[in-house]
Symmetry: C3
Subunit: 381 residues, 3 copies
Amino acid sequence: QIEKMPYDINGNTWFENIKIGGYVQSRYNRLLETNPNLDCSQCDKSWGAGNGISLRRVRLKFSGNLGDYVYFYIQPDFASSGSGSGQHYGQLRDAYFDVSLDKAREFRFRFGQSKIPYGFENMQSSQNRLPLDRNDGINSSIKNERELSLLFYWAPQETRKLFRELVAEGLKGSGDYGVVGFGVFNGQTGNSPELNDALHIVGRISYPMQIGNQIIEPGIQAYTGQYQMPRSNLSDGVNVKENLNYLDQRAAATFVLYPQPFGIQAEYNWGTGPEFNKYTNTIEQTSLEGGYATLTYKISKFKQLFYPFMRYHYYDGGKKFELDARSYNVNELEIGMEWRPVRAFELVAHYTISSRRYEDFQNQDNLQTGRLLRLQAQVNF
Amino acid sequence: QIEKMPYDINGNTWFENIKIGGYVQSRYNRLLETNPNLDCSQCDKSWGAGNGISLRRVRLKFSGNLGDYVYFYIQPDFASSGSGSGQHYGQLRDAYFDVSLDKAREFRFRFGQSKIPYGFENMQSSQNRLPLDRNDGINSSIKNERELSLLFYWAPQETRKLFRELVAEGLKGSGDYGVVGFGVFNGQTGNSPELNDALHIVGRISYPMQIGNQIIEPGIQAYTGQYQMPRSNLSDGVNVKENLNYLDQRAAATFVLYPQPFGIQAEYNWGTGPEFNKYTNTIEQTSLEGGYATLTYKISKFKQLFYPFMRYHYYDGGKKFELDARSYNVNELEIGMEWRPVRAFELVAHYTISSRRYEDFQNQDNLQTGRLLRLQAQVNF
Amino acid sequence: QIEKMPYDINGNTWFENIKIGGYVQSRYNRLLETNPNLDCSQCDKSWGAGNGISLRRVRLKFSGNLGDYVYFYIQPDFASSGSGSGQHYGQLRDAYFDVSLDKAREFRFRFGQSKIPYGFENMQSSQNRLPLDRNDGINSSIKNERELSLLFYWAPQETRKLFRELVAEGLKGSGDYGVVGFGVFNGQTGNSPELNDALHIVGRISYPMQIGNQIIEPGIQAYTGQYQMPRSNLSDGVNVKENLNYLDQRAAATFVLYPQPFGIQAEYNWGTGPEFNKYTNTIEQTSLEGGYATLTYKISKFKQLFYPFMRYHYYDGGKKFELDARSYNVNELEIGMEWRPVRAFELVAHYTISSRRYEDFQNQDNLQTGRLLRLQAQVNF
């Protein structure tokens, strides 16, 4: 006598709808180290003195298409710190769902916490990226690349297919964040509570295209909003704007030549944000800029993949989400190789030549230069 | 030469025994807001000033029948706060297993952390409930509805089938917590450590029955025990009983008419517990009462579901698990609709007209009234 | 036009490659308790006054063979404490992957966080172990048994098969940690950050062999390194070595007779490490020793399994990972039985007769003796 649900039955079992995958990265950064005081808080906390073997990422992905219009993706990371000294707690990276307006899923709304479409390297999964960490210049925009947001994406069906292949066939693509993407987000960066009443807005255009036998992907993107300095990130004695809010605004240009076999990936961004000034002991509204260029060569040999690569990156500006909007000046060159002997396993080694000035109220003269060899073993499942 | 295990082999693969599902809720509560100081700590921390887009629940469910007598259910939530300002940590909601005495599973013991059988709306999953949060009156009994416990449930086979259908066919059922349920639990509410040496006891009877073409479910339930105020929830200067223990005792009556198409869900409870008194600056043993009535209309049209609804709820009493057993007086009216265009996706909008007085030692005069529009997008998988 | 990946396609779906399983343990330790001040911080925090029903372990395991050379294993626990009073957060136990040099997987490198091959009972899963907690003598070596490490294991194919059967057929085996295992690890114990610049080294040999109708497994193992006392584990006023580093060195001998039907499991270890001395208020480098013997009888009857057992264990030394490297002297006798009526469910009851002296700077005279009945219900999936 009970009326049945009105929806068509798709007849799939749960394991046909839902897929589980993931990856794990284990690292060691202490070989050939010339300066144990050189560290890198945003990129990898296991650089420098007092560190050993580490897990950089332990990711489980639960995802799937649910009928013709809905897709979901949940990705906790189990290499996250708790508060205090505890390690390896499970914390969300992604938890989003797409609702598309058409069966081809060309027009999609995305709800939840997901990557904010700003920067190609930001969109590229750490599972695929060659250098072990993202560049400071663009990644200083949004810590963990993700935010609570409402986004809209559009990409035609054939471009969606191309986005997929550029990842699946080892060309180090970014995945599908639309040819056009725009929307709103909280603006305090991922997993951090919103503090002011203003949402950020973001927009991006990125279009992969065939030129002869090569595929290139130029892109532009920008966002703007008000960032509020969290009180827990302010040293006693530092001067700060009374309402704690700073304009947080950036624009970036991207050029990608996919490695068939030679590849280029280059981005640069300009903007403004909060930054600590040691001469006035004040967090000021300053301009910022930075970017990178990565050169790659893809070699498929002995049924294995080899990717020698080189990246130079640069940043001059503040990091809003660090203590006192810490002031940064970064010049870094990395030369390395990824070796993937079987599908499920990769080894990366890269030699890093680094010059990093990072200064806050408590550490006002801090230029660290040095070199180190970085090693990573990764499993993909 | 090694002796084999004595158990029958069921021959199933792991994915036939174990099922994964879940849901995600993303919300925005800031539209048409008339009072940014009106917030609601238990129901949804993202009301009011300084909030934006939020994830209210990110749930993964792992469950399954293991042979003829055992069932398990594990449900972490990835929208839980850590201590400090971190968000989106994985924390258990449920982790329980049923051991039944018969193959029809009519008689079951339940071990672990699970919902305590007190209240129909408490048992109803947030995945199915129409208003975005539970009513204060009854939900103030047990935060997160769950406790470490040992419970016993009985329900005849045909009623178990009915419990299942009332959820599966969109009639907003509570799930199967037995026609009769009783047992013991720690009493400090879910995910909080036990503090005293006394267990709480609980009992519930709830019986769905056919009356003509309609199904109703009347129920009664009660629990009693000693609740110990955690020291971390006491302001300096507040007066409290020397041993910190207060009687925590409630009884509730439930009436449900399932929406075919018109539905009623109403509950009320009376009891006693700790409550802050601002005139004496003392946490006192006081009486409490409260409940709600929800009216629903289920519309199945265009192969979609629509549920317009209205709920009024009321509470007068303390919240034992909040600072100083915060004193509450709540009157709230909600008018809204759930729209489920496809099986996997729901949108809820409701307009909330609220009057909330909530006072503790640090905030002694705090009556907040206001209105707001609340929005939620949900994916079910 | 895009070049395909060079790897062979195995054609498996994700659920054929990846397997999910786990177990949950719910406990109650308050019956027949003679001394509510007797507790046991490392073994089970829910002994003694102010405790009730608890979840000791809530484990989900994700694992699988990925092609011929790679295996992964990720196991979060959802019964872990956060900082502060929160409970039931998800925290890693294992996150490792094996890369083998041969298709038979006889020679394997293991990357990530995994059990350090030191001690048979340490390797034995809590899912299989008879006494509810590990012995203090050997488990005081490495909290949670796991560390960030790089390990190498070797075992011939037929021994790997035997290791598997010894677990699968209910003989309480340790699983496959190689006939020979060795490697390096951080040395601050699992989920704790590395503090000094020195890695620990470890080696183990354990060889199961057939003697008539019986199977025995003798083993030896040892590790050495520098342990750094974390500042958060030092009381104000306690004296400590200036660089905080202490030699952390142990060797152990193991003898196992698998229960067909009578079994013996015995281990003893000697070593040195930091330990609080209450006469000098100093954390000193001292010697330590301890071990256990467990007697078992395996009964397979009525298509069920019964394991009556008895364990005596002893420890004299410090626990480096507790406050002030707390000084311990433990004598404990346990008599109990595990009953497994169906494959997925087990009940354990054991009566514990305990004498525990555990002293730090803040609690200098603390000898607790007492008896209690311990109960555990466990589900396996």
